[in-house]
């Protein structure tokens, strides 16, 4: 029993206790699935960021940055923050206005189509189960690495923690624990990277040294032996996946579903802007920090362990324990969100029941069943965190993004168009991914499943809508989305919301400044 294990077990116990305490306030399905629709801005921010940041960031992204593709990854990381900025204003607040319990329910209501609701729920479940699998593998790998405990035992311990938390307290518990975890892993990440780089002479010295000793790591093109053989191809990949992850942040079920719980539309919009800010901070500190760690250990056997290695070797033990506990929190917070969405999808979208107590029970049982299924997958599959995570994200982008945008902003799209778009996007992307995996072929960047899936989705929407007509019901549902509730017209709230949205323009300027000051200028000056 080492100190890392003690720290992790204490944190897991704390989350379970918090979940059990919060569960006493869960009275009905509204509380369980959408936290009573009373979530203030700061809880939404906490959940948005915590549900986005997981073991994928600390293992996958950090490892890839350390290995040599920092530049494409930070371009992708900065681009995706736009998903929050646009998501809150152009999609999330209409979702909240609909007062639906889930996003599939929103699609079903908007297009007067039970079939579309079911399709959305199925695509959502496939994506989330895949993503939950990668999260569980990441958590298992983390715990095994720092504690020496058997990997499968680690998976079971983590599973017990986030399953109890989610089953008992539902979305209310998830929101509160997500926010606590967000505070923990954000603060400790910044502190640890600052202290670790301090050991190498400070951030700017390390950037300068790396520019001379391993210039490829921070170069615009990245290490050309790693992903694609040219900088231009790496940039095309980064741009495409910047759009993919922007889509996830904008409309992805584990992101946009937070907005359903907001106390009002102002909270939706403001939380999305704050989330953009915090996600960029984490993206930059983790990715650039990981790249800089090359100066201390350029030949780590498994690149994805670089942040763990730093936590165990470059900072005081207590801080290392808190860092590892923070990464565990990042993983658990994502997993609880995924599980709560699975429960909502089954109880609300797939099973027909008007009885509130029955819905609650179905939701809880489906969470338990999902946890067991994913545990079995995690047991039999070897860890491959980064690419599994990208599979889930890409499928969401390809099957949902065009339909989400069209559902609000298109007068012409019909239920048939939306259904075909979602189905073709899902099959196009998924099919290409499976083909590439099974055949072992490396696809050229322009045949990436993202491009195929998005094109298939758009073709489905256009052709399906051209062959059918918008019904009066669909027209009425869309028009209703543009009727602003009286409760949203408070002038003071409006003024505050407008200021917050305007701050996102300043965020753009700040992002450029940060990248120039902390990466580009010191790097290019030392080449």
């Amino acid at each position: 029993m080492n100190i890392f294990l003690i720290g992790m077990l204490i944190s897991m116990a704390a989350y379970i206790i918090i979940g059990l305490v919060i569960s006493k306030g869960v009275k009905n399905s509204n509380d369980f699935f959408v936290a009573g629709r009373q979530a203030p801005t700061f809880l939404l921010v906490g959940s948005l960021v915590a549900s986005y940041c997981g073991t994928g960031l600390y293992f996958g992204d950090a490892g890839e940055s350390y290995a040599g593709i920092f530049s494409p990854l930070i371009m992708l990381g900065a681009m995706l923050t736009v998903g929050y900025v646009l998501g809150g204003v152009f999609f999330g607040r209409y979702l909240r206005r609909s007062e639906c319990n889930t996003i599939p329910e929103f699609f079903g209501k908007r297009f007067d189509s039970p079939a579309l609701k079911v399709l959305a729920a199925v695509t959502e479940l496939v994506t989330i189960v895949v993503y939950l699998l990668s999260t569980m593998q990441g958590i298992g790998t983390l715990m095994n690495l720092v504690t020496g405990l058997d990997y499968n035992l680690c998976v079971v311990l983590a599973l017990i923690t986030f399953t109890i938390l989610t089953v008992t307290s539902g979305s209310k518990g998830v929101l509160i624990t997500d926010t606590i975890m967000f505070g923990l892993f954000t603060a400790v990440t910044v502190v640890v990277i600052m202290i670790a780089t301090g050991k190498g002479g400070g951030w700017f010295d390390i950037v300068g040294n790396l520019a001379q000793s391993k210039p490829d790591v921070l170069s615009w093109s990245g290490d050309l032996s790693y992903l694609y053989p040219s900088g231009v191809q790496n940039m095309i990949w980064a741009f495409a996946y910047g759009i993919v992850w922007m889509s996830v942040c904008m409309v992805g079920p584990w992101q946009a579903s937070r907005y359903l719980m907001a106390k009002n539309e102002h909270s939706v919009i403001r939380s999305s802007i704050w989330a953009a800010f915090f996600v960029f901070v984490l993206e930059f500190v983790v990715k650039c920090g990981a790249a800089l760690l090359n100066i201390f250990n350029p030949e780590l056997a498994d690149q994805s362990h670089i942040i763990i290695w730093a936590s165990q070797n470059l900072v005081p033990t207590v801080l290392g324990v808190i860092m590892v506990t923070g990464i565990l929190a990042a993983g658990i917070s994502s997993a609880t969100t995924f599980l709560s969405i699975i429960g909502s999808a089954v109880a609300n979208d797939l099973v027909k029941s008007k009885d509130d107590k029955k819905k609650l029970t179905i939701g809880r049982i489906s969470i338990l069943v999902a946890a067991v299924i994913v545990m079995l997958f995690a047991y039999f599959n070897p860890p491959q965190v980064f690419w599994i995570m990208f599979l889930g994200a890409t499928v969401v982008a390809c099957s949902w993004l065009p339909v989400c945008i069209a559902s609000i902003w298109s007068k012409r799209v019909t239920k048939t168009g939306a259904f075909c778009g979602m189905l073709f996007g899902f099959l196009g992307c998924g099919g290409m991914k499976i083909y590439a995996s099974v055949s072992g072929i490396s696809l050229p960047v322009f045949l990436d499943p993202f491009f195929i899936g998005i094109a298939a989705n758009i073709i489905g929407i256009v052709v399906g809508s051209a062959l059918t007509k918008v019904t009066p019901q669909e027209k009425a549902e869309r028009e209703a989305l543009f009727v602003m509730p009286e409760s949203e017209k408070d002038p003071k709230e409006i003024a505050k919301t407008k200021k917050t949205v305007l701050a996102s323009v300043i965020l753009g300027v700040a992002v450029t400044a940060v990248l120039l000051i902390f990466w580009v200028i010191p790097y290019t000056a030392n080449l």
Binding site: V89, P491, K492, I494, T497, G508, L515, L516
Partner: protein, 40 residues
């Protein structure tokens, strides 16, 4: 090219911010003024 990346992403985010602000301003047009009229 590193400079180009840093500037591109900043412009990307700022442009999105302007788009979002434009939408919010349009949607809330006239509603903020109700407060000023009440105070007068």
């Amino acid at each position: 090219m590193e400079y180009a990346i840093a500037i591109f992403v900043g412009v990307w985010i700022a442009a999105a911010g302007l788009l979002a602000f434009g939408r919010v301003k349009k949607d809330f047009k006239g509603l903020e003024n109700e407060d000023k009229e009440d105070n007068q």
